[in-house]
Point group: C2
Chain length 357, copies 2
């Protein structure tokens, strides 16, 4: 059995951090005899520069065939003035949608070793462990019609469509209920059902699903309140499920509660458990090429990949244990640096994880 991993470094710090994660995957492949083979491809700005499109056909074909994808990050100021269809982000969105990676899992975990990095008071965030389940291939990101039109008055109007079908809601709901079953058995569905019809349907379907998961306690919260509650008392949450746009906002807010977004991985899965794995942070063009980016979120994304797409729980745990060990050793990249710790480069951090494996 050979399984293929597609590496998509992308832009900015992407190549640097993916390089470290790739070394870790090679070593774990040998240690655990996983039979993984590796390919690589272009996406985002890197693909625009090389092939004049953010998602070349070749990349899409490789992605479709791969068992899992490890992505760095896409985007940067040099491509910001391109028309929407040609921007780096379209590479990412195109992969999500072509592979139907509808289930985006974003853990927000506070590493005890990094507790002081949070801008919140220790008692508010210590032990924080939330899982955000974000719908990733529907909602306003992909809704039609969309664009800019000229009205009869002669002025322009920009418009987008926020839409969900019952089955789209049901399949992400199931993923979230199942995640809650594996964890603290509490699921909070976030919507704006007091204003938006599309989220009235969302709430109805979530309530329907409740019968299939009687061991999970379901609650509902309006998105404005959720944004507040994450700041006030984030530990009240176990699993949160929400649509694409609200999930984009709330998962970044939740990630930042930890103060160390350079540590947080994510998974985007389809119904065959094929998945794309990427750090929660972006391409950080301001520090690209300096060798100072934190590779741990990408390395932890590789661990998630082993767990969710390759069914190699032990190998995943080995990586996670190695990351925990280097944190215990006091090694820190600049983004998570604190007094008394030892500042290391991207590469030194990667090497330390390899050594700890």
């Amino acid at each position: 059995m050979s399984r293929t991993i597609l590496m998509l470094p992308g832009d900015g710090i992407g190549p640097e951090i993916v390089a470290e994660a790739e070394k870790v995957l090679h070593k774990i492949n040998d240690q655990f005899n996983l039979g993984l083979s590796f390919e690589s491809g272009l996406v985002g700005g890197a693909a625009i520069d090389e092939a004049d499109t953010p998602l070349p056909n070749e990349t899409l074909e490789k992605a479709t065939k791969a068992d899992a994808i490890l992505l760095g990050a896409v985007g940067g100021p040099q491509w910001d003035s391109l028309p929407m269809a040609k921007r780096p982000e379209k590479g990412l969105l195109g992969l999500r949608s072509n592979l139907e990676l509808f289930a985006n899992l974003r853990p927000a975990i506070l590493y005890p070793q990094l507790a002081s990095a949070s801008s919140l008071k220790p008692e508010v965030v210590s032990g924080l462990d939330i899982m955000i389940v974000r719908e990733l291939t529907g909602g306003i990101y992909f809704g039609q019609p969309r664009g800019v039109r000229e009205l009869e008055s002669g002025e322009r109007q920009g418009y987008n469509t926020y839409a969900y079908t019952e089955s789209e809601i049901r399949r992400i709901g199931r993923v979230a209920f199942e995640a809650a079953q594996q964890r603290g058995k509490k699921l909070c569905s976030v919507d704006k059902a007091n204003v938006l019809e599309v989220t009235v349907l969302w709430r109805e379907i979530m309530n329907d699903l409740r019968r299939e998961y009687p061991d999970v306690e379901l609650s509902h919260m309006y998105v404005d309140n959720a944004a507040m509650q994450l700041v006030r008392a984030p530990k009240q949450f176990d699993v949160i499920v929400t649509g694409n746009m609200f999930g984009d906002i709330l998962s970044d807010e939740a990630a930042m509660l930890t103060g160390s977004i350079g540590m947080l991985p994510s998974a985007s899965l389809n119904s065959e458990k094929q998945g794309m794995y990427e750090p929660c942070h972006g391409s950080a063009p301001d520090i690209a090429g300096q060798g100072i980016a934190n590779p741990l979120a990408t390395i932890l994304s590789a661990a998630m990949m082993l767990r969710y797409s390759l069914n190699e729980e032990k190998a995943a745990e080995a990586i996670e244990a190695a990351v925990s060990k280097v944190l215990d050793q006091g090694l820190r990249t600049a983004d998570i640096m604190s007094e008394g710790a030892k500042k290391v480069s991207t590469r030194e951090m990667g090497e330390a994880v390899l050594a700890a494996l």
Copy 2:
């Protein structure tokens, strides 16, 4: 010259907190000889129970004629299962839209006396003073078409439309640039221009306006990043301008950074500076009728009303000074209570402000 204020207590704690603000307004009216006269009306759940509609014609007529409106809050669980068009929220949304109250100003200020109430570290929030300018009569809240339709497949799809015209963007942009001119001269426009066409137009118009306000420094931020930056380093912001939905989320998040949402007022203005003023918090049905709600956000909303709609800056400052004085005296309602302070009821807090005037 007689000017009319319409009091709309609404639901939950609304009547209790509006009663205290009304006493304050009566006293300030006498002290400063403002020539205000007062009316009252039904809105939200209270109007549904009495008149079977969340916004009776009589209320709308009074509102249209009033110089300013002071609203408590709307909504509660007993009306949550009503169809969308009959819900308390429609009373609020109907007032906003009929009166064209497109400019929602939401300050997020940390009162030094209440610094410890924040869930953020003191150094992150001390001195916090942000103004969020939210577009209030357009965007996805009011976009057409909307609803739930049956697809050919037989399944249902919920949908809403997120739309803005150039002129809608321009008029809220002007309000925000002007607010920035009065303050720290920094304006951050929040959008999702890497994904949503409607916000590409938003960004273009904001950039256009820059020429009219050369003294204001304009920046742009994606909404997911803004949700993060508010947690990480909120003091980087001066004025934030954004659309209706993003503004709903970010203004609540920003309010909660202070830890004392019971202190925060808001103003919703039209182009004639007619305005509706209300606390940022909701109707809090869980504590309604107990006499323990914090009336200060409503009292401070009355101060905003004097400033923005009635052009009575001195009277506004007098109220704000009185509020500051009662805080200095150590008086606290339950929501902002801390060790060593004196816990007071809604009414006692109102009386203390009166005494301090």
